[in-house]
Each structure stands twice: as C-alpha cells, then as structure tokens.
Amino acid sequence: MIANPPVELTDLAQVERALAADRERGTGSVRATTLNLVVYAPTAQDVSFTQRALERIGGSRPLRAIVATAGSGGVRATVSTSCWLGSGMQQVCSEQIFLTARADALPSAVLSLLVTDLPTFAWWQGPIPEGLGVLADLARLSSFTVVDSNISSLEGVARVGGLDSWVTDLAWLRLEPWREAVASVFDRPAAAAALAEVRTACVEGPINEARLLAGWLSSRLGRDVELQHDERTHVERVAVRCGGPEYVIERPAGGHVGRAYGEGTTEHPIVLPILDASTLLGRALDIRAADEVFEAALASAVGRAA
C-alpha cells in the first residue's frame, strides 16, 4: 500500500483540493470510486480500528471514507489517500477524511464531503444510543446503515431498522457460514422431513448471535424455536433438536474447519471461517438491497425474551 502523507485542514472547502493534489501526485487524473463510507468512531481506539479495516478493504473497494468523531471546538479534517498496486501495476485508491466536530455539527460536515451520486453507507461503531441522536442523522444521509449487535443490542438494531435506511448487522453476517451449514443439514430429503420437528436450538456463542440464529429458525419455519444458550466469544456449536433426532455443527475454538453430524447423516468436515472485521465490512458494503430474511429473524429475536 502506498499512502500519501496526511494533510490537516480546518476549512472543509479545502478538502477536495487536497485530495485532488494527492491524485495528481500519485495516481494521475483518473479515479474510480464506488461508494461513500461514513464511519462514526467515538473513541481513538475506534479510529485506529477503522484505519486498520480500511487498509484491508480499500484495495478491493475504492471508496471515500469519512471517519467522524465527536469533539469540542471547530471542525478539523485530516485528509489522505491510500493506493494499492494491482497485478497490472494500475492503482486502486481510496480517500480517507478523518473529521472531528461537535456532535451536532457532524452530519452537515459529512454531507458536504460526500462524493455525489454514489451509494453511501454509514458504519456506526459504538453502542446504539437510546434516542439514536447523531446515528439517526447519519443514517438519513445514507442508503445503508451498518451496526454490530454484538457490541450493542438487538433492540437497538431494531430501532435503527425503523429509520429510512436499510440496516445491516455485522453479527448477522458473521452467522452466514453457520446458517449455510445448518441449512445444508436439511437439504437431504430424509432430513428435510425433520424440519417439521425442529423444537430447540442449542447455541454456544455470543448471546445476540444465538438469539438471531434462533430468530432465523423461528421465522423461516413459521413457529417458535426455543433457544438454549451458553456464552462463548465466537459461535462454536449449534445443535438443532427435532424431537428425538439432533443435528450438530461444531468447530473447535479458534479453528475454522469444523464438522457436522446427526441422525441419518454422514459426519463430514465443514468450513466455518471466523470472519474478521474487514471481511465483514466488505460483505456489508456489497449489500445493496433490503435483507428480508434478516429483518424477519431480527423481529422474531426481539419478540422473544433475551
């Protein structure tokens, strides 16, 4: 990765000029940008985390990232460009604008910096506030809002879902390999009949992911599926009980190749990757429509007691 040195500015009108100067220095006059990513990073730790994630995904999705942090005093911006070399020596470049302003000034500052007419994603990093506040303002600027119920709450995610912006929950994306694995168990005609008997999901993993998984089963099957839960850092085991038979998918802690087994099925290995933050964010940025299956799973999960 080639990073142009950051330029600090207090006048947002200078931001475009500084980025254009970066382009002329390193990449010529042509640029490809595919989206705006507005990141709300409440702490310095969140800003560092965001920087690392952007370094990982910026090369595959040229974007303008506006990383907003609430602070005191006037608006301050630090702008920079990072470029990655492709196999043909062409560069993929992303622009980063680190923005600090009073919380109530952030939305207008962000609005002035968005690249025109591109999809805009808002990635909210902290816990979801009760009254939504700035989150609601940023979501209104965006077509898609990305949150993580693992560091917030499913109820908070549901509130964000009520705004005029499609919501993506990183916890839901983290579950995708598990949902695929559970679904594959019931692909076989013999096991498909057992779907009618699914009563309980036993999940070892983070509570909100467990609730989402049970909510998904309930909403897809059209009846309540009981959740039994043991807390873990990552999902490690899912057992679906169908009356008598039980179907199990498990992976060792820290590993990414697990196994699946159950009545009438042959035990087999299964790839269950632990998706890191940048991979999840990349997947979130590839979503361009409402996810009705998620919305139903969330509604079902929120509708039951935690």
Partner: protein, 506 residues
Amino acid sequence: MAQVVSDPKTNPLRVGLRAGGATVPAVFVIFGATGDLAHRKLLPAIYNLGARGLLPNRFAVVGYARSEMTDDEYREQARASLERFSRTQIDESYWTAFADSLHYVSGAFDDQEAFRALGERLARIDAGHGTEGNRVYYLSTPASFFPVIVDNMGQTGLNDPAGFARVVIEKPFGHDLETARELAETVHRSFQERQIYRIDHYLGKETVQNIFVFRFANAIFEPVWTNRYVDHVQITVAESLGVEHRAAFYEETGVVRDIVQNHLLQVLALVAMEPPAAFEADAVRDEKTKVLRATRPLSFENTVRGQYGSGFVAGEEVPAYAQEEGVPADSNTPTFIAARMEIDNWRWAGTPFYIRTGKRMPKRVTEVAVQFKRVPHLPFTMGAAEHLEANSLVLRIQPDEGISLRFGAKAPSPTVAISTVNMDFLYGSAFLHDVPEAYETLILDAIRGDRTLFTPQDGVERSWEICDPLLEQWRSGTPQVYASGSWGPEAAFELITRDGRRWRRP
C-alpha cells in the same frame, strides 16, 4: 452465473442464503489424475474452491490413472502440486479435511475390470462421505482416450449411478466437423447431451464474461451496437510465445484449430450475439449458436495465413517456427491467421469482423475493438478536424483488462482545434479482488450443474462448419513467413487496407 442450489421450496432455511457455492453432494472423478492438467490446474482449483467453502459439504475426489499408487501416495502428490501450482498458500487445517477426501484408483482406460473396481470404490465412498451417488467425471486425458473411457463408463454402469452423472470433456472437440460428430456420437452412447460439459477454459475467464456484462448491463452501448453505427470490429488474440514444447501437438493442430475454432469464435459470438432472455445455459448458448449460424464460413479469399520466421520479441532473439525443436524444416503449419468475416443477420449485415491471431507477435494481448462510423457531417473547418479519428471502443481482455473509449475533444486554443483523446478505464483500478482461476469457475459450475459457460454440441459443430472449408483449402499451398515480433505478414495488412481500413496497433 445462474445458480443451481438446493430448493428453498423444500428447505425454507435456504431462502436468502447467498448461493455462491455448490450444495449438492458429489464425487469428482479425474480420469488422467497423474497428468499435467490434473496437477497444474484441476487439483489446485478444487482445493481453492474447498478452502473458500464453495464445495459441497459432502464431497470427495477420486483420481484414476494407470500408475500404481495408494491413497496416501496420491495425497502426497496432490500436496506437492498445490505447493507448486496453487494461487493460494496451503491452509493446514483445511488441508487435513481436503486430504481425507482424496482417493485414488489405479487402472488403464481400456480395462473394464478396473472400471468396475472404480465403481465399487465409488459406492464405498458414497457410504463414507455421504455423496449420494452423484458423480462429476472429468476426462483430463488426451482426446484419443475419450471414446474408450466413455464406452467403458457405459459398459460398467458408471454413467448411471444412483444420483446424477456429468462428464466434463476438454477441447479439442474433434479435429474437424466429421470427427466432432463421431466424438459426439460416442459420448452420446453413454451420456445424454444435458450431462455433457465441454470445457473451454477461455470462457471461464472473468474478463471474457465481462464482455457479456458490459454489453447487457449498460444501457448506453447496446443501442449503437449495430451496423448502423459500427463500421467494423477487430478481434485480436496475439501471443508473444512461440510453439514452446508443444511442437507435436501444434503440427497436428495449427492456428485455426488451436485458437479460431474455439476461443476466437466464442469471443466473436459474445460480441455479436443478441441479448438472451436470461443469463441461463440454454438461453445464452442458443443465442451464441444463432449468431454463429449467421456467420459465413472462412474463405480462402478473405484470409491470410502466416508462419513465424526468426526475429526479436521484447528484445530477445527467437528462432523461426521451422527451426523449433520437433518441427519439420518444411512444415506448412500456419501459426498466424488474419481474416475478414461477415455475419449475415439484421444487426451486422455489411459490418465486417476482422480477426487476427498468431504466435510470436510483439506482445501478448487479447482485445475487441469496435470501430464506429464517422459522423455524417463535421460542422468544423477542415483544419480544425484534420486529425480527428472516428470513435472506437476497445474491450481489452488481457492483459490490463479494461475499456478504452476514443473520442474527439476541443484542444485548448483560441480557435477550434479538435484532438483525439482516449479515456481508459482499467478494471484493476476499480476492483482489487482476488480473481479466481478460470478452472475454479468452470469446475464449480460443473458441480452445480450450470452449463452456461460450456459449449453445446450444436455450437461445436457450427464452429467446425465455419472453419472446415478453409482448412480444406489450406491443405495445399504454404503460409507466408512473417518476422517474429511483427504483427504478421504484409498480406494481413493488405487484407484490411483494401477495404479502406487499417489494423489497430494494440
């Protein structure tokens, strides 16, 4: 690609899941498992699919070849191949699971007893891996073995397992129309057409598939994609390499069978076809075959053949084709062709397609250049537009895949002066994604049962009908020698200049 996945109607948990991978269990059987293709391409492709979680959960690979070997020895060979040829590093935790799924059966291709033993082994693998009798057979052998392998599969019931059976065949699909039909008859004795996957790895390239997306996902290009606005189209498939170590193969093949009959006509079909109703196997293949049916056969009068002489390529001195190891000094095998082709349909009548392909060209490049007609009237003084070129749109397939649009712009000046400028878009500057190998795409499609990117028999036959008359005429005479590192013999330039046009310099 069209997705073939487990049905959400019978399994409601499937609704909304991304259907990128294969879900139906299967055993992948490689005939010719110890050969170059299996080690360089097939095993790395299968491994990478599995490591990305795209293979079915219940899956196994069985290698079949003459060499005596145990499963463990085959796994060691596979491991060595992956270390050498895989585009990704080996993931040790996945390797353990992958290695467990690898099996080996020893036998000759003409040994029915060995085929029966293979069948028994597959039944045991079904029981152990839960693969439910589903089979994908990949014939990774010289084409001369296809008939005996396919016949023996039919004789021993391997073509009719408890689940589905698909057979993947590598090109060449015959040597001409007659042998292509003979091959098809042989394969059809054991498999129905819907079970046959004729692989042309060129069609698995992301860049080739992008032609389709470019044309049919953008509203601004398709309306001008006709003889009304397009003056002509140039398709160039240039290789900088010579015949290398493939002299025996190339002497039998030549440039028409090696490139034109398959890769180049497929690219032409993608550029010229009508929009299909859906990006699905039958719809896409039908449209491609339709445009090939409208394509006039290659004729002696509208083609130029060449053979590379000695010269310099990228500063390196290289020998002539006739001096290459294994090539007879008096060889008449063409290594270059330039041709003027016509498509007799409503969209393209009167708009020629010029094609050229050859070895030892100045550089390796594949591109499609759509040359537009000039504007009907230029409202500028002659001096202002003196050097103005007609618009052109170039789809670069390799290397540096991208799109280039040439148009006129006002040069900064107190008077009106028009310059021609190129606007380049490089796919690589918008997406730095990890690009899958063509074999990964095609093997996954075969496992999923998606035939969109595979060639149907009627398409194969039509391609031979286009090429056969020329191949017959080329039996006599000799190709013109062109210097290595040039764009072909002088006659290739005359072929196009006689129409008042000129080749692009890629």
